[in-house]
């Protein structure tokens, strides 16, 4: 069985207010064929929001790697590329 990909969506207040709330709908948008290979969780503040130089909220962590200014479509593209690598 394939290794699963973990998507952690920051639900700290900064990310949540600045567009992160809608990211929790990610599951509804995942393509059917790899829905089973992805684990989606919310997580507490990743503390990336404290410094503007680290990018813009909302932040998510995909298999340990941080994505800034995350949108549902960018997350899905990242998941697709990770699946191809595996």
């Amino acid at each position: 069985m394939k290794e699963k990909i973990t998507v952690e969506i920051c639900t700290g207040t900064h990310c949540f207010v600045m567009g992160g709330s809608d990211l929790m709908l990610l599951e509804d948008y995942l393509p059917e064929d790899f829905r089973e290979n992805v684990i989606i969780t919310g997580c507490n503040c990743l503390e990336y929001c404290e410094n503007r130089s680290r990018g813009k909220a909302p932040f998510v962590r995909i298999d340990g790697e941080i994505m800034e200014n995350a949108t549902i479509s960018r997350i899905i593209r990242k998941i697709e590329s990770l699946i191809l690598q595996k």
């Binding site: 207040t13 949540f16 207010v17 600045m18 709330s21 809608d22 709908l25 503040c45 404290e50």
Partner: protein
């Protein structure tokens, strides 16, 4: 419809920056915000960074509670607008403002032929047009807008789906035709008709319609020596990916001396409304509608005079809560926090409520003060019945009233969202109503889908249900 879009995010960013400057006493730097957001050499959203900067300036004016239409001197500095904001005694109606320069003056041609037109032989669009408004130019259909009556037949007829419907989003969203173009094509709001439902504000893709915020007034009150009491709407549950107990602690950290749930007042509304309904039924009234949604009450007052006798005379949850707080804490500044534009108007007319903060503004304030709601301690909540908290969703008020009635002939009807179609239906109710208790909510889904919420209503509903189940063993 998703709530998050760039117009929303820019507004939240601005509320955050404005509040940060306020609390750090650096409002003199306000003039820098347009430059920081659209720096020289950076990319523009509109024609150029200079227009983008000018729009940010107008947005800041609205966020400081000013009416953009009132600008007389374009050179008046934001600093002077800060002074005016801090000197005012009370926020002023109307609570919406249209940034004329941001309004794109969307063209009022509702049907447009796109490049997908194949210039076919059959030409059903032309043949079926009742006004002969379609001609063929260079082998393609063209709609003559002086003849077109927007019937939409050509769109339905085209086998290539080449004709599209292009609405003016704000006008399309307004249930009562209160927003329309002035001579220059820019939108303006007719306040004799406006019900403050906030739908135009949500709909405008250019973010040209804004609320006149009371943020400055709230920040000033929090900083003063006066006690401040936050009265939180039931729909605040589920807005922060954190429990209500943590939100309460976060509010206290923001500077509120006390936090009280409007859900408590909602129980009083439900109780009074149940008695009112029973006595009306005893007098052989045919039906009664709820009165908790101020956009609905405003719609009746301005557009549906025949419905007026049927609207419950019971006060809203906001009023009962305000009354209680005033009695117990007469010196305190009362601040209602909710998702609604119309509540600003209601609160302005109600002496028990001093100021209103939107849920979106509250969220941005938390961001500005670096308050992470999830990290707050759990506060002990007031003893509020889940039925009161349920007022946040369509059907909640009905359930709460039903629990208080003893008469078992209650037949309920719900109007979930006011639009042109549901208004047509309601107009018929005095002649024939499908039930005897009508709950009306201006926003589809109820307050959790209000114009100023943060969380997606579907996700907020999940959280709300969880809390309702917890407090209802």
């Amino acid at each position: 419809m998703n709530y998050v879009n760039n117009a929303t995010l820019i507004r939240r960013e601005l509320i955050t920056r404005l509040s940060t400057l306020f609390v750090s006493k650096k409002l003199d730097n306000l003039e820098r915000i347009p430059l920081e957001l659209f720096p020289r050499g950076g990319t523009s959203v509109r024609c150029c960074i200079y227009k983008d900067r000018a729009m940010i300036r107008y947005r800041l004016m609205a966020l400081m509670g000013h009416r953009v239409e009132d600008e007389t001197d374009e050179l008046k500095s934001l600093k002077d607008y800060v002074k005016d904001a801090l000197n005012r005694e009370k926020p002023q109606n109307p609570f919406l403002t249209v940034i004329g320069e941001a309004c794109s003056a969307c063209v009022r041609v509702n049907y447009v032929v796109t490049d997908a037109c194949q210039g076919c032989v059959a030409r059903p669009c032309m043949l079926n047009c009742p006004k002969e408004a379609i001609e063929f130019v260079n082998g393609r259909a063209h709609i003559m807008h002086d003849k077109c009556i927007n019937c939409g037949i050509c769109q339905k007829e085209c086998p290539y789906h080449a004709i599209i419907y292009m609405p003016v989003p704000c006008e399309e969203a307004c249930p009562v035709d209160a927003i329309r173009k002035d001579d220059s094509g820019k939108e303006e709001i007719d306040y004799d008709k406006c019900t403050y439902c906030g739908k135009c504000m949500r709909a405008c893709p250019f973010g040209a319609i804004m609320e006149r915020s009371q943020l400055m007034d709230v920040l000033k009150a929090l900083e003063s020596n006066r006690r401040c009491v936050a009265m939180i709407a039931p729909s605040l549950v589920g807005q922060f990916s954190a429990s209500l107990g943590r939100v309460v602690t976060a509010l206290k950290k923001l500077g509120f001396d006390d936090v009280t749930e409007v859900a408590g007042g909602a129980m009083e509304t439900a109780d009074h409304e149940a008695h009112e309904w029973e006595s009306r039924m005893a007098q052989e009234d045919t039906f009664m509608t709820t009165s908790c949604c101020p956009a609905w009450v405003e719609t009746v007052n301005k557009h549906l005079p025949d419905l007026k006798p049927y609207v419950s005379e019971t006060a809203t949850p906001l009023h009962y809560t305000g009354e209680r707080v005033r009695k117990n804490d007469p010196e305190a500044v009362t601040v209602f926090i909710g998702p609604c534009v119309s509540k600003r108007h209601e609160a302005w007319k109600d002496d028990t409520v001093d100021l209103v903060l939107s849920i979106e503004e509250l969220g941005a304030l938390f961001v500005a003060l670096k308050i992470d709601v999830q990290k707050m301690d759990e506060a002990v909540l007031e003893d509020v019945s889940p039925a009161g908290r349920g007022f946040a969703v369509t059907g909640g008020a009905t359930e709460a009233v039903r629990k208080n009635v003893t008469n078992h002939t209650m037949k309920t009807v719900q109007i979930d969202g006011l639009d042109k179609q549901s208004l047509r239906e309601i107009r018929r109710y005095p002649k024939q109503c499908p039930g005897n208790f009508v709950e009306v909510m201006s926003c589809q889904g109820g307050c959790i889908a209000g114009p100023n919420v943060i969380n997606n209503p579907r996700l907020a509903l999940r959280q709300l249900k969880k809390i309702l189940n917890q407090s209802n063993p």
